[in-house]
Symmetry: D3
């Protein structure tokens, strides 16, 4: 019953996020033998100005 | 001082979410004898396309 | 498919934690009409010295 | 490689949040000797109606 | 700079968990074009008696 | 009512973690004008073999 939360800077299109769910689910399934049906993956999008790297937001760093 | 984070697919109306906060707070209070005043409940809403079940988003699954 | 994480200072016995899972699941079910089967509740226990309240650990505060 | 998630009721302006990232990063660096570059700080904003205190949302409590 | 938290019932051996980190990192890299170096994956192990499914702990359910 | 979760590789002594709680609480207080009393800081320690950086655990990377 693994549950993954993936924190991402916002801005990816829906297709990439759908692929992210599929790939991370599959990765967990392969690595720890959890049934695909039991896996949950939540994407938590974080705006650039809320994602701090080395003391500055990604926005300020120009990402 | 219990803190609960509840991850929900978005779409519930405000009344249900207010009730969710009340009910979960009360449940924690009853189960572990924590004073009502000390309990925090955060609702984290997740869009359908960010909530993956069995490798597909809830959106793709038609929820 | 609601998922709740409950952060608790460690020290409750197993019976109380089993009850916590049951009560919080039921509270979510009642409040937002989620099927009982779809609810996940994770208890994350935090040692007293890792739970900070008003700038001091619960251990230092004598809890 | 410390990672901090800071859950805040929404409504602070961008300047305060930029300062929050800088100050929390610095605090972690000073306290546990982690290099500034290795620290990540994520701000997760929670609407008033999703932040429950003592069984009621911050919105209902008039904050 | 994606960060994944994977919540797992405890009990997997170290080799599987090392593989989990490698596979989930790679999955994120492939899906959203994030550089491998920028990905963080945290495994949060949860004891059977703290992982609730449908109102009962995994321990009580006999897992 | 800010709540911070700080994920750390395990191994710091208690004094440093007490200082971490004090410093992070103060940083939040200063940056967003939250009363000291309202701040919660939780330290979530993660074993070296559960903290993945660039696809490898901190243990494997020799930290």
């Amino acid at each position: 019953m693994p549950i993954a939360h993936v924190y991402l800077i916002e801005g990816r299109d829906e297709e990439k996020k759908e692929r992210l769910i599929a790939e991370v689910t599959d990765a967990i399934h392969r690595a720890v033998d959890a049934p695909i049906d039991s896996v949950r993956v939540l994407i938590i999008e974080v705006p650039k100005e809320h994602f701090g790297i080395a003391g500055q937001s990604a926005k300020k760093r120009g990402r």
